[in-house]
């Protein structure tokens, strides 16, 4: 699928998601996630890094960044360009943090265009996100585990934790924010 076709398919889905359609949002994340996985694997391979688990780590960081920056999307612009710019920013950040000079990387759009087949997640990530999870407060962690492991809806998880659905969504949102912050500080030496 060419980038234009992908954009034409993806944009209405994302617009529906922004209006509040959670199922559309899930479809969007699955589709863009597959595409970004290919992009990140290619770019990391060019930097001499062939571990798929590293690509999966960066992908999770990028997905988290997309999620937390949804409000920065301009509905009049291509959603693939928005996602690509975020992925690229996080990739450069990742390379810089892990001690590789990003300046001589050919960070062009080519790889994004080339990655036209969504790639399956063949490996697990290297636990970076789990480490980020461990830094969350107990209550938020319980909530998140119930949703992600047991496949509970937020309403069910909120019920079990004795809170309202809205409060649970806010708590999960804060948890995701804290995890993103944790990830972007990872690797920085305390001075």
């Amino acid at each position: 699928m060419s980038l234009e076709e992908f954009e034409t398919q993806l944009r209405p889905v994302f617009l529906a998601a922004l209006a509040g359609d959670a199922a559309a949002y899930r479809r969007f994340l699955d589709a863009i996630g597959g595409r970004l996985r290919g992009y990140l694997r290619q770019m990391l391979a060019r930097a001499g890094r062939h571990e798929p688990s590293e690509a999966e780590d960066v992908l999770q960081e990028v997905l988290l960044a997309l999620h937390l920056s949804r409000h920065t999307y301009d509905p009049a612009s291509p959603v693939t360009a928005w996602a690509h710019a975020i992925a690229r920013y996080k990739l450069v950040d990742h390379l810089r943090r892990s001690g590789r000079h990003a300046g001589n990387l050919p960070l062009d759009d080519e790889a994004f265009q080339l990655a036209d087949r969504p790639e399956a997640p063949s490996t697990e990530a290297r636990l970076d996100l789990d480490r980020a999870m461990a830094s969350l407060p107990e209550r938020t962690r319980g909530l998140i585990d119930r949703v992600r492991l047991q496949g509970a809806s937020v309403a069910e998880a909120a019920d079990a934790a004795g809170m309202t659905e809205n409060a649970a969504k806010v708590a999960i949102h804060r948890g995701l924010q804290a995890m993103a912050k944790f990830l972007s500080r990872r690797g920085e030496r305390p001075t």
Binding site: R26, T72, S77, I86, P121, E124, V147, G151, V154, A180
Partner: protein
Amino acid sequence: MQTNELISLMSASHRPVDTGWLRRATWLGALCALAATAGLVLLTLGARHDFGRAWLTTPVLAKMLLGASVAGIALPLFQRSLRPGLKPARRLPLVALPILLAAGWALLTLAQVPAEQWSTLIFGRYWRACLIAVPLYALCPLIVLLLLARRGASVDGPLTGACAGLASAGLATVAYALHCPDDAAPFLAIWYTIAIASMTALGALIFPRFLRW
């Protein structure tokens, strides 16, 4: 955690998203910062003595117009620079337009008088005050824009900073026009432009430190 689980988690806690917030917050923030800066100028320096007579004259309006147009061009670019995937840098040269107009007007003014009067027209009475006051007052809108920028997702810190510096200097120019007693066009074209340029550089320099995400 597997990527699948992360996606489930994010879509389960998903809520409707307001994509217009950044734009509205930028304009509202800029208006509030302008009001605050104008208040600060009036409180600390006071309006110029002849403000009642002078506020509708060309020089005062020209100062305000210069500041307002620089801010009016820079603010949308600032707002767009907080949204990944847009390329607002291409329109940044537009900011030069009002400044070039002011420069043209200044040259025209200088051409019409003998050279002995040039230094009076250029330096006026308070060029140092202008050079210090505009950047100083511009710190107020700059801080507002910095806080706002942290709510966005800038992938180009220096660009966001330069736009914020331009906008805040523009707003400060409007506010300082309430006080500034020098009315010659060459004065306006030189000292205000230097003040605006220095805020642009300051923004481009300091913003990247605060905008990592």
